[in-house]
Amino acid sequence: MTPDIPREILEGARRGDREAFRRVVEATRKLAFNIAWRLTWNAADAEDAAQEIYLRLYRNFGRYDPSQPFLPWFRRLATNCVLNWKERQHPAAELPAHLPAPQEASRSPDLRLRRAILELPPEYQSCITLKYLEDLSVREIAEALGVPPGTVKTWLFRAREALMQKLKPHREDYL
């Protein structure tokens, strides 16, 4: 999941070399798609959002500082891009139509968990996604989201608390 991209490829892609950019896409597509999937829980939306990630990457590659590691910068770009994309598609925190209704979701604990994640504030969703997708440390999540580690700890704590509150009425399904 965590790709290792040679320095010369990154520098080529920064200069606008399309072949180098293609190799960056190949190396990061699984990560990008899974970030998008875990923030949408829908394959078609995740594909659209992943494409948006790469269009933004292509436009903004010049802003990447090659003296810094690429992945934290990429995770940040990808997470922000998907959250912005979702806001445009489903404004005002409206849940996407493909999600099962609460009564339907109640039949599947996993669906209920996914729905509960999507109901979290965007910053909590980002934390949960980065934490459980790649098992990142608090410091790595902080780097990716551009916030202090203390903030990430708080967000993770509150995100878990919020999930617990949402799932508590269905406790018997999880035990």
Binding site: V25, N34, E47, A50, Q51, Y132, M164, L167, L175
Partner: protein
Amino acid sequence: MRCDEVREHLESCGECGLYLEVEARLRALPVVEPPARLTSRVLRALPGPASTARELVRLAAAAAALLALTASLLLSGLDRHPAAEEARARGEEILQAMVSTLNPLRSDRPWKH
């Protein structure tokens, strides 16, 4: 607290049990494979480099439009209109003023108009 005490607590405490179960489910969320077409789709959507031929066509179109505008002005006699004459005279005055302002700054070779 010893291991068996922790285990005993987890078995009896619904809240901690739920916490652990949710944590386990979060860790077990699947990692999915992206569609095979994703890379080609992305590459097709990238903005293409501006082609030289397309740039030349745009320049030629702009030059042709300018030429047509100049020709129509000359043919219509608008360039001999008193307002056009006056504008030309004002332009001359402004140019002269600029030259006389800038000349002292160039001691070696004064500009001439």
